[in-house]
């Protein structure tokens, strides 16, 4: 068998094993490569810092467990960042999701399951509320934008949103016109495209920030900055954001999502280099075979 044939016929399980080795090795002995914080992440951070006092922000976790390794750091970081803003500027935060798999992630985040969430004294029902899961995707978004109370009559625990004694925050949230900013951490449909069609068209001054999977970045870049003020792009974006927040409060770097987001960067480097090596070797084998054929 010639060299080119040997290269092209290598068992795929050898390739899988190489990937395992490369990732396991670097996770067990990280080198902590420096991560440069990009301007998109800085803009995402700046937009949240610039939320005016008493504004209402919607934080949507439109993702499932399959997106958690990449988006978990963004979810945790965004929620913590908003709790800091509740304390500093008395903003109001409404959490919700159009994915049933995202509902448990919201409660796990603020419940401290993934690491302590410093709520900075924010009171549930007064400063923030979790509406939980709203069904029906784009139809649910349209209904919510028209009449919040009708589209979601209760919060995640079954408390009435019209009950001013338990959820006074909801007295200020009746339709999309009351909302200043949407932060959507999402891993697919329904997501930004549906928010754009149903929410932005009813309030053209709505600010939108997106936490995106790497694979979804191409779908968001065309809308920036006309619709999307900024986005966090994939695992790299999550790591940058956690590092940026860690400059304000280093505790966030020791949380679970923080450790995962930052710890991923070394392994990303080695795995990407391995894929590049695969591409190069594969093409070398291909061109060697071509040359043999021509001879």
């Amino acid at each position: 068998m010639s060299l080119s044939e040997k290269i092209e016929r290598i068992d795929r399980r050898v390739l899988y094993a190489l990937l395992w080795v490369v990732v396991l090795f670097i996770l067990l002995s990280p080198v902590n490569m420096p991560v440069v914080i990009g301007d998109l992440t800085k803009e995402y951070h700046r937009q949240i810092e610039a939320i005016p006092s008493n504004a209402i922000v919607v934080l949507a976790f439109d993702l499932g467990p399959e997106g958690w390794p990449e988006l978990g750091g963004m979810c945790y970081g965004s929620m913590q960042h908003l709790f800091w803003k509740i304390h500093e500027k008395h903003i109001k935060v409404v959490m919700l999701t159009y994915w049933s798999t995202g509902a448990a992630l919201i409660t796990n985040c603020f419940g401290g399951v993934y690491g302590p969430m410093d709520k900075m004294g924010a009171v549930y029902g007064v400063d923030w509320v979790n509406l939980g899961y709203i069904a029906a995707g784009e139809v649910g978004m349209s209904a919510f934008a028209t009449d919040v109370w009708a589209a979601k009559p209760t919060d995640y625990q079954g408390w009435l949103v019209s009950d001013a004694s338990k959820l006074p925050i909801m007295q200020q949230v009746r339709s999309i016109k009351d909302i200043y900013m949407l932060i959507s951490i999402e891993s697919g449909t329904p997501g930004f495209e549906e928010y754009n069609r149903q929410w932005w068209t009813r309030k053209s001054t709505l600010k939108i920030l997106v936490g995106a999977l790497g694979v979804s970045i191409p779908g968001y870049e065309p809308y920036r900055p006309a619709r999307i003020q900024s986005y966090l792009g994939g695992g790299r974006g999550a790591a940058e954001y956690i590092l940026l927040l860690g400059q304000t409060d280093p505790k966030i770097l020791t949380s679970q999502p923080g450790k995962i987001a930052v710890g991923v960067t070394d392994a990303l480097s080695t795995s990407h280099m391995l894929v590049i090596v695969f591409v190069v070797i594969g093409n070398i084998g291909y061109f060697l075979r071509l040359r043999r054929k021509q001879q």
Partner: protein, 223 residues
Amino acid sequence: MTWYKRREGPLIVTLIVALFVIFEWYFGEGAVIPEATTVSGQVQLFVAFILAFVIGVGAVSVLRLHWHRIQRRKPGDYSWIYSGWIFVVIILFVVTGIFLGALSGLRTEEPSYKWMYDYVFMPLSGTMYSILAFFIASGAYRAFRARTAEAALLLIAGTLVMLGNAPIGGVIWPGFMDINTWIQRIPMMAGIRGILLGAGIGAIAMGIRILTGRERGYLGGGE
């Protein structure tokens, strides 16, 4: 076949409902005909309810399929055990989420339901998607060939973006990050924007086909 059993009835319903929803957008808001907004909002809530209510159709279909497999089991073939296991898991979710959740008042925060989400659903869902990493690495080795100039361009763009995304790219040469940013904001963005524009027009065409009854596939087979 009687007229209400044919496809024409539902097609007319689709047309009327869609036209009403579109009409409400232009004449309802801004108090021209505010009642239209109220009625349209209620219809949308109806649909939201229906879409949530019919989640059971998927569950019933899956259970029916696996019930048939259990009934038709043959001696020596043990694959029916997997079908039985599906019944067990679905019933567990229904019991913990709905019955125990309602009894305790915690609803979906019921600890046993959450345990199954955190330790069964999350690992399975995450891992099922993560094995794609191996297939994509294997595909990069076996199939990603620079056969033509355009394929070479695709390969080079992909490699430059990979080097920009991984921190090691910035360590090797800081310019990789600038190149990555430029590729994503100029040519990639332009190409995808062209695709989205085409997709937008396609969506409008599809919508008009549905409204005019030329698109009937969603109604299923038969008359």
